[in-house]
């Protein structure tokens, strides 16, 4: 179980190898990688600047990860989130969930992403190629995705 905030990129293969090395009871590993798209609302994107709240970010990610662990009986998990200035095509976030079987691994990875998107204190600012910059608005669909888990298993 680990969370990390980083200005540098991550190596998915290395992270997964480290996470699964100690437990040969792991049968399924679900991963998610979020990437910077090259456009935003039809405009070409030049940069994505990620701000966060040091201290709270780690605390919140650890709470989310502990809840995923409790719900889905994970063997291991990892959340890495980048901050700073990113370019189109760059990786933003990596989530890995390891379980005995694939259903729990998939569900945990989705849960981690849904909660991270609505609770972890990160903010994105889009810098367009035309020079404009704007803070990204929160998506109502993300709130609904996270809320859907509330009504499931306690």
């Amino acid at each position: 179980m680990a969370v990390r905030v980083s200005t540098s990129d991550f190596d998915i293969s290395a992270e997964m190898a480290r996470l699964t090395a100690s437990d040969a009871g792991i049968g399924g590993v679900a991963l998610f990688v979020g990437k910077v798209r090259d456009h935003a609302h039809g405009e070409a994107l030049s940069e994505l600047v990620l701000e966060h709240y040091p201290g709270m970010t780690e605390a919140e990610l650890e709470r989310i990860e502990a809840e995923a662990q409790r719900r889905f009986k994970l063997s291991a998990s990892l959340v890495v989130h980048r901050v700073g200035t990113l370019k189109p095509g760059d990786n933003i976030v990596l989530v890995i969930a390891c379980a005995s079987h694939r259903q729990n691994a998939f569900a945990a990875a989705e849960f981690l992403m849904d909660y991270l998107k609505t609770r972890a204190p990160f903010w994105k600012k889009e810098v367009l190629e035309n020079g404009q910059a704007r803070w990204v608005d929160a998506r109502e669909s993300d709130d609904m995705a996270a809320a859907a888990w509330e009504s499931e298993q306690g």
């Binding site: 709240y53 605390a59 933003i92 609770r119 903010w123 600012k125 803070w135 608005d137």
Partner: protein, 91 residues
Amino acid sequence: MTSAHDTSVVLRYFAWLREKTGLNEERITLPPGIATVGDLLRWQTTRGHPFDLAFAKPDAIRVALDHAHAKHATSISNAREIAFFPPVTGG
């Protein structure tokens, strides 16, 4: 140094709230009568420019007390660090 009787709090600002207030953080002693997060948001609008504009839409603002999300009805009681920010957009 912060004495045991220091009643000051650190207020922190992120994303467009940081830009609109022009502040990363400030240490401040709150006036009496501020019991909840909602009270605090209303008080911010009374501080004049640029706080009046930055806090004009309190429903668009999220607050964390000592690194934990808080609702507008939550008591700020003994919080030492209070953060103001827009809804999060990571991931």
